[in-house]
């Protein structure tokens, strides 16, 4: 019995001391280092323009105007009513997924004047995992170029070169996929950069 009581006491002490170290000192130290060395990133890579906070470089926004490149579909409405994130979680045989995909495919074709046989970049019509995916694939961006150019009175080549300028390569030349940050590209189109 005495041994058991000893172990209970030890468990309590271990929880108290480890809490102070792992849940107090550790996260506060990381906070201090983060704020000191990378304060912009540690605070969410927030973009501030003359009129206030535009958003975050890392978080997708809703774009519907033909003059802007459009983000990927979001299952959480781009966190427009509260902080939220996540995917559709619709399975491959879901009727709802089918209806969503068909509507998005038709819409995407119509907006961008694409022929019925033209293959559509899968990311353009599929909801992302986070609902906040800030990127689109290069193929998706290229398909939208003519529409954006038309709406802005620019030539398609001008818009294509803007896309190329904002094309992010694989990281270190190796990791991940090529992509375009929609918010940064749209800001550049507005002449904010």
């Amino acid at each position: 019995m005495k041994a058991l009581a000893g172990e209970i006491k030890r468990a309590a002490w271990a929880v108290i001391l480890l809490t102070i170290l792992l849940c107090g000192i550790y996260p506060l130290a990381i906070w201090g280092i983060g704020q000191l060395l990378f304060s912009e990133k540690a605070n969410g890579s927030i973009l501030v323009r003359e009129k206030g906070i535009v958003g975050s470089v890392l978080i997708a926004q809703r774009f519907t105007s033909p003059a802007y490149f459009h983000s990927r579909p979001s299952a959480v409405a781009y966190a427009s009513s509260a902080a939220d994130s996540g995917g559709s979680n619709l399975g491959p045989l879901s009727k709802l997924l089918h209806d969503q995909l068909m509507a998005r495919i038709n819409n995407y074709r119509r907006e961008n004047g694409l022929a019925a046989s033209f293959p559509i970049a899968a990311d353009a019509v599929s909801a992302s995992a986070s609902g906040l995916d800030p990127h689109i694939s290069p193929a998706n961006a290229f398909s939208q170029a003519a529409r954006v150019a038309g709406a802005r009175g620019l030539s398609r080549d001008q818009v294509m070169s803007m896309i190329r300028l904002h094309l992010e390569e694989r990281q270190l030349g190796i990791f991940g996929e090529k992509r375009v940050n929609v918010l940064l590209l749209n800001l550049a189109l507005d002449g904010h950069e």
Binding site: R10, G44, A83
Partner: protein
Amino acid sequence: MEIGSWLQLLLFIGLLFLLTRPFGSYLYKVMETKEKTIFSPVLGGCEKLLFKALGRDVEKEQSWKQYGIALAFFSLAGMLLTYFVLRLQHILPLNPQHFAAVEPSLAFNTAASFAANTNWQNYAGESTMSHFSQMVGLTFQNFVSAAVGIAVAAALVRGIARKSVRTIGNFWADLIRVTLHVLLPLSIMLAIFFISQGVIQNFSADVKAACLEKPAGREPAQFIPQGPVASQEAIKILGTNGGGFFNANSSHPFENPTPLTNFIQLLAIFLIPSALTRYLGLMVGNKKHGWAVWSAMAVLFLASLMVCWTAEGKGNSRYPVLSASSGGNMEGKETRFGIFNSALYATVTTSASCGAVNSMHDSFTPLGGLMPLLNIQLGEVVYGGVGSGLSGMLIFVILAVFIAGLMVGRTPEYLGKKIESADIKLCVFYILASAILILAPAAWAAASRWGVAGISNHGPHGLSEMLYAFSSAAGNNGSAFAGLSANTPAYNTLLGLVMLAGRFLLMVPVLALAGNLAAKKVIPAGSGSFPVHGMTFIVLLVGTIIIVGLLTFFPALSLGPVVEHFIMTGSGKLF
């Protein structure tokens, strides 16, 4: 399957292989020889203080029962801490969003989930948990549940390595050594790296953004969450915990902002489990045995990845216009990761009992989603969770050795120790219990109104959602076919109990086996001994795992993802 993806895979496996040896030796130093490490100058003070507070007995060796009792008390105390932090978060500090207290059944489920190293989450972090709950209630478990897992594996390996003794180490010493010399310093490095890539670390309330294209009459247009993410993300990954700060887990740009953070997360998930095979080799004085176990894991890992990667790359055959040439199955995946890194992450996280996700498994193609589910059901022994993976794998090793012994008609022995009836009973108990913990509650849910009510996808996919939930809970994985609405009292309670049993009930046969083996004498290896390294052993081990796994789970799987695959390719039916 383009060349760039193969290069990433080669780098991943290559780096994992290269890190296994030095890091395994480091673990040996931490757990066995208890030498000073490079972190001792900084953390030595903490270590002394902790040892002093816990008393002199901490140096004393324990029997398997004493070890288990200490572990149980500690885990219970930690679980109570988490439960009360969640229940009281409305009056605790660092709650800028003014979240209410977490409801009791959800608080129980979450406390059980994090204490059991599962991190199944029936809540969305950004709309439920205060910064304090995340930083104290959950981060605490992320560290210590990982340390407990490693401690148990170390104890089992000691049991295998030792001769004719009754003790298997001291729980408190293991807990403190692993936390201070492995988990904490590596977490600090990871967290700082994550911040440099864009992971956030602050204590602010949500940032309200106006957005570039302002929707009419809506101000603000977007809510950007904030919080101490980096410090939690690091240990979430390193400790194969997997519980995300946000609902979207590692697909959220604030948890996993770049392909490089993704790559480092993948390596960090496998680092400790992989290095433990080297620790095993060093402990038993047979490094080849360690590498043979590593190789068996690598074979299973690559096979599983290939199926998942191919299926996701081909995409959903119902939508040929979104064909492979234009991206594959991108529903529930992020652009920066694409198909390959999503399939790789899904395979790693389910092989390793981690449960972090960078894509939504619920939206995978039938065969692409089958693989993560199967990885969990095979017992997460492919590298596996920190500690629990090696423990599970060693159960299969002993079973494989036993089967080999039966085939050649000799008394089975493992590293010079006779494997006897009592040992095999413990192994079989472990394997049967893990299967029953998955299949029985999943069957119950599938036959009950409360169970079926949670389904979001109908048809065979609905069964897969329930099967995945209980596989994930029993296997302490924590990933989900997340369409399932499981935040109900029934699911919260049952999943919570399954997670606790999957963790702590299954530790009993592991520790008992450790005690049993430690007490055995060692017979020198003869010409008739079955070698536990080399090709024959690897094939036998892989075969044992696959046969046991498939025999147990094929009937259930055939009603879920398998039939779904044939409906997808062979008909036009939707659900």
